[in-house]
């Protein structure tokens, strides 16, 4: 049924957003959300490379239990601090919302751009300024506080680059806030007719929940690092007990932001997984409302559990008990999502494309990451596991194995849309397998290291731990090879990739209804909205070498409630 109606809405224009205007200035001053998204993507992936090199340095040092000539204690402390700070503030927090979200959100929503394009560009340049501060701090002596900046070490003793990096974190916080503001207003105000809240793709629900946390929690981080800078620069006692301050107060402030920040990192990833699983199973998402509301539930609970980072800090036992109890409430919406994704696979038509392999990896890794959170939330066992490698393994399973794997899955999912080219499926699957195997080798061993009592952030360790470290470091090398292959075939596809059809995977949400790459203003006419998880009107088209959607049938199915 290949009629005109089933063609992409936008005409096959010669101009897409990449070729719409030319020259470097047209990128630097662009207000196009797609170009800003691409710039963010490039920036985030570059930072990911630097952070990854730091991780490999740390892992390589840990092959040896004692002192090594090529890396001193201080250099090691700076390397793991830099790894953590880069990965958290420059990579994971902006990766999905600011890079993929910027590109995809307005198109999925059916809008021409975000609500505040200039604020969007400003947010990107704030990110750049934050990154410059981090680089400057390296030249000013680096910083060795750990990404958590605990006082009074950070305020009185740490290396010379601490203030610049704190300024950087402050600026990056505003970058994150502006993105959040932009997304909330866009979702509220720019939905086309018919795009009701319950027609909105789950990725957008997740981005909306994320944006709420971004604008409510991030100011607290700004205040905290500002106070820390004041203490360090002007010796005004806020956190340092020798000047009348309270170091535990800093931990409360810090985790009041940084625990919700964990959900800033994971929620958008969960949103992507909802899309990937549904589209590549060609099957309506199971339990739309449960997944949608579980995102909101996680966003709310995320503000109430920060104290579980502080069970051994000396806060009152009563608070420990309360925080432990509330922490378990986060487990429930997370479990609901996993069960719903599983049910979506049931009776699907599952295409094991590269994005889908990443989605399945996510489910595997997130299940481990989530379940290992339980002994950390339980008071008595956390006393044993706190600040050991068990914690390190747990949050890498969630932050990297889940959030970042989801980001890479999403990148593969929308890559044909972003650049209009297909990458090599063969190498995509190989790389995904390498990353998956390498990841588990690296971090599963760290669960054992931790439960056997190896503290985190250690330069030297007891010989009994060496075997675990060898496996872990070996895994990290395999993972690095996987990522290098990914970088190579993605870059290769830009120059020599097959031209991508408008809809390579058979998606039914709006972004698959404009050309690949999309035109400058996304849609030439106001798009008509159906049920984005109803695939009954999606057909394979031999001539297109992609899927086409029969718009009329799609809309009428949604209107009659058939697809629901």
């Amino acid at each position: 049924m290949t009629t005109l109606d089933s063609r992409p809405i936008a005409t096959e224009a010669k101009d897409n957003y990449l070729t719409f205007t030319r020259g470097i200035l047209s990128w630097i001053f662009t207000l196009d959300h797609k170009r800003i998204g691409v710039m963010y993507l490039f920036a985030v992936l570059s930072s990911f490379f630097v952070g990854g090199v730091m991780a490999l340095l740390v892992r390589t040092k840990l092959l040896f239990p004692g002192k090594v000539d090529w890396m001193t204690e201080d250099a090691y402390n700076k390397a793991f601090t830099l790894h953590g700070a880069i990965m958290v503030f420059l990579v994971i927090i902006p990766s999905i919302p600011a890079a993929l979200g910027n590109f995809v959100l307005p198109i999925m929503l059916g809008a021409k751009d975000v609500a505040f394009p200039r604020l969007n560009l400003f947010s990107f340049y704030l990110w750049v300024m934050g990154a410059i501060c981090a680089v400057y701090s390296l030249m000013a002596g680096g910083f060795d506080t750990g990404w958590t900046f605990y006082t009074p070490y950070s305020s009185q003793f740490a290396a010379g680059g601490t203030i610049p990096v704190l300024v950087g974190v402050f600026i990056l916080g505003f970058s994150s806030i502006f993105t959040g503001v932009n997304f909330i207003v866009t979702i509220h105000k720019l939905r086309p007719p018919g795009m009701t809240w319950f027609r909105m793709p789950l990725f957008l629900w997740a981005l909306y929940a994320t944006a709420l946390i971004q604008i409510l929690a991030t100011p607290v981080l700004g205040i905290t690092v500002a106070l820390l800078v004041v203490e360090r620069a002007f010796n005004i006692g806020i956190f340092d007990p020798s000047m009348g301050g309270d170091p535990v107060l800093f931990q409360h402030f810090f985790w009041f932001y940084s625990h919700p920040a964990v959900y800033i990192m994971i929620l958008p990833g969960m949103g992507i997984i909802s899309e990937l699983i549904s589209v590549h199973s060609h099957r309506h998402i199971f339990g739309f409302r449960f997944i949608a509301f579980s995102s909101i539930a996680i966003a709310i609970f995320s503000f109430l559990v920060w104290g579980h980072h502080m069970f051994t800090s000396g806060q009152s036992p009563l608070m420990n008990v309360l925080f432990s109890a509330i922490t378990f409430s986060v487990a429930i919406p997370s479990a609901v999502k996993v069960f719903n994704w599983l049910a979506t696979l049931y009776k699907g038509s599952i295409a094991l494309n590269t994005p889908m392999l990443y989605a399945l990896s996510f489910m595997f890794l997130f299940t481990i990451g989530g379940l290992t959170g339980i002994p950390l939330a339980v008071l008595s066992t956390d006393i044993h596991l706190h600040d050991t490698y068990f914690v390190v393994a747990h949050f890498h399973y969630v932050m990297m194995g889940s959030a970042l794997i989801a980001m890479i899955g999403g990148l593969h999912h929308w890559w044909p849309k972003m650049f209009g080219v297909m990458y090599s499926e063969f190498w995509g699957k190989i790389a995904c397998a390498l990353v998956f195997i390498g990841f588990n080798m690296t971090f599963f061993t760290q669960f054992m290291l931790g439960s056997q009592g190896m503290p985190r952030r250690y330069y030297a360790y007891q010989p009994e731990f060496q075997i675990y470290h060898h496996i872990s470091t070996g895994g990290s090398y395999i993972m690095a090879i996987g990522f290098l292959i990914t970088a190579m075939y993605l870059l290769h596809s830009l120059f020599a990739g097959k031209k991508a059809p408008a809809n390579p995977w058979g998606g039914a949400s709006l972004e698959w209804q404009c050309t690949s790459p999309p035109p400058h203003d996304n849609f030439s006419t106001t798009p008509r909205v159906g049920d984005c998880y109803d695939f009954s009107a999606v057909r394979w088209d031999e001539k297109e070498q992609g899927y086409v959607i029969d718009t009329e049938a799609h809309i009428s199915a949604a209107a009659s409630g058939k697809g629901h």
Binding site: N77, T145, T312, L371
Partner: protein, 389 residues
């Protein structure tokens, strides 16, 4: 294959049988305190629940991915969009499970937090990058010695930044926060004893809160001694001064005792809460200015020489210094106030002698109070490391 490698331990496995502590397992190190078995049980219980759900989720996922794999290009797949009973079910079930788990952890936490009344108290000081343990009779040690079969309470403070004391075999951990006291308690029933080679066994004590450059060196040993052995060790330890030869007091005992002085008195002439032992205002170091007696003013303008010398209040400079330690308020060096506490009853005569001997040899010390390695008398030979530490 891997588990066998991972299960190997150097000496612990063999010994654990004789010691009667819980042996090391795939997940957990040996348990050597009274709370360890209960905590390990909770950990293992959660683990089994986790295994179950992990294999359930991944098993179903793999089965579905294979069973419902795409065939051809015909894509539309019909399946249920939602199922209220199922969804409510898998919301409620995890809720019930985590409520149970929470209470298990809560129970263990309360017993692990509440120290028995009769606990034996040891004072702990954490500093970059060492632990100091002080026992009720005044004995001090760098490693932790505890009596077996008796609750022990550690009362901890930090001199600089956050630290955290962690004894993994006891399953206890507590942050040590500057500006406040924190505490933890444990009871270890089995003495650590010796291994086949006659070396002392021990439990690891780690610092688990990042504290700067040598964070990973901040670990010590924990020895559990039977009550008799412990009493013997404690007596020995309290008499450590007596075992040092008179001629070596200045560098073996002096620096250890000076730790208590150095919060107020510097060695390099810089300003502290009390007068520096070093050369300040060009008056020479503490021994030189006391000996000459003339250069520095005390008690609002008097000369030091007015009270030191034959027939005067103090026959010798040593006598004046001794008085200043035991009765610091009697004469005050200008312009310092009466701040120093008395050390009467805390320092033995030999202890005071060690400090005065140290003052006499001040040029042989670094400004942090450690002896310069090259200044250690050659006859001391291999024992040099003791004081240098």
């Amino acid at each position: 294959m891997i588990p066998t490698i991972l299960l190997q331990t150097s000496t612990d496995a063999a010994l654990s049988k004789t010691q009667g502590v819980t042996p090391r397992t795939f997940w957990l190190p040996e348990g050597a305190s009274t709370i360890a078995p209960e905590l390990d049980w909770v950990f293992n219980f959660i683990n089994y629940i986790n295994y179950f759900f992990f294999f359930l989720v991944v098993g179903i996922m793999c089965y579905f991915a294979w069973r419902y794999r795409q065939r051809g290009r015909e894509v539309y797949a019909r399946g249920p969009n939602h199922h209220t009973v199922l969804e409510v079910g898998w919301t409620v079930l995890p809720t019930l499970i985590v409520v149970v788990i929470f209470f298990m952890g809560f129970k263990g936490f309360v017993s692990a937090k509440t120290a028995p009344e009769n606990a034996y108290q040891i004072d702990v000081t954490a500093l970059k990058w060492a632990w100091k343990f002080k026992y009720p009779n005044g004995a001090q040690s760098d490693d932790l010695y505890v009596p077996a079969g008796r609750p022990v309470k550690l009362v901890m403070r930090s001199e600089d930044v956050l630290h955290s004391l962690y004894i993994r075999d006891f399953r206890v951990k507590q942050d040590v926060v500057p500006g406040r006291y924190s505490s933890l308690w444990f009871q270890a029933d089995n003495p650590t004893g010796k291994n086949e080679k006659g070396e002392d066994n021990f439990h690891h004590l780690f610092c688990t809160e990042f504290c700067g450059t040598f964070h990973s060196n901040m670990n010590r040993k924990v020895f559990v001694l039977s009550q008799d052995e412990f009493d013997g060790w404690l007596g020995e330890q309290a008499r450590w001064l007596d075992k040092i030869d008179d001629s070596e007091l200045w560098w073996k005992a002096g620096p250890k005792l000076f730790v208590a002085c150095k919060t107020c008195h510097t060695l390099d002439g810089s300003v502290g809460t009390g007068p520096s032992w070093g050369n300040y205002d060009g008056t020479g170091n503490i021994w030189e200015r006391t000996k000459s007696g003339s250069t520095h003013k005390i008690d609002g303008g008097k000369n030091l020489g007015d009270i030191i010398g034959p027939g005067k209040e103090h026959e010798t400079p040593d006598g004046y210094l001794r008085e200043s330690i035991l009765n610091p308020g009697k004469h005050l060096v200008d312009p310092y106030g009466n701040v120093m506490p008395t050390f009467k009853g805390q320092l033995s005569d030999r202890g005071i002698q060690a400090l005065i001997d140290m003052m006499k040899n001040l040029d042989k010390f670094n400004k942090d109070g450690t002896v310069k390695p090259e200044a250690i008398p050659q006859t001391a030979g291999g024992a040099a490391g003791v004081a240098a530490k």
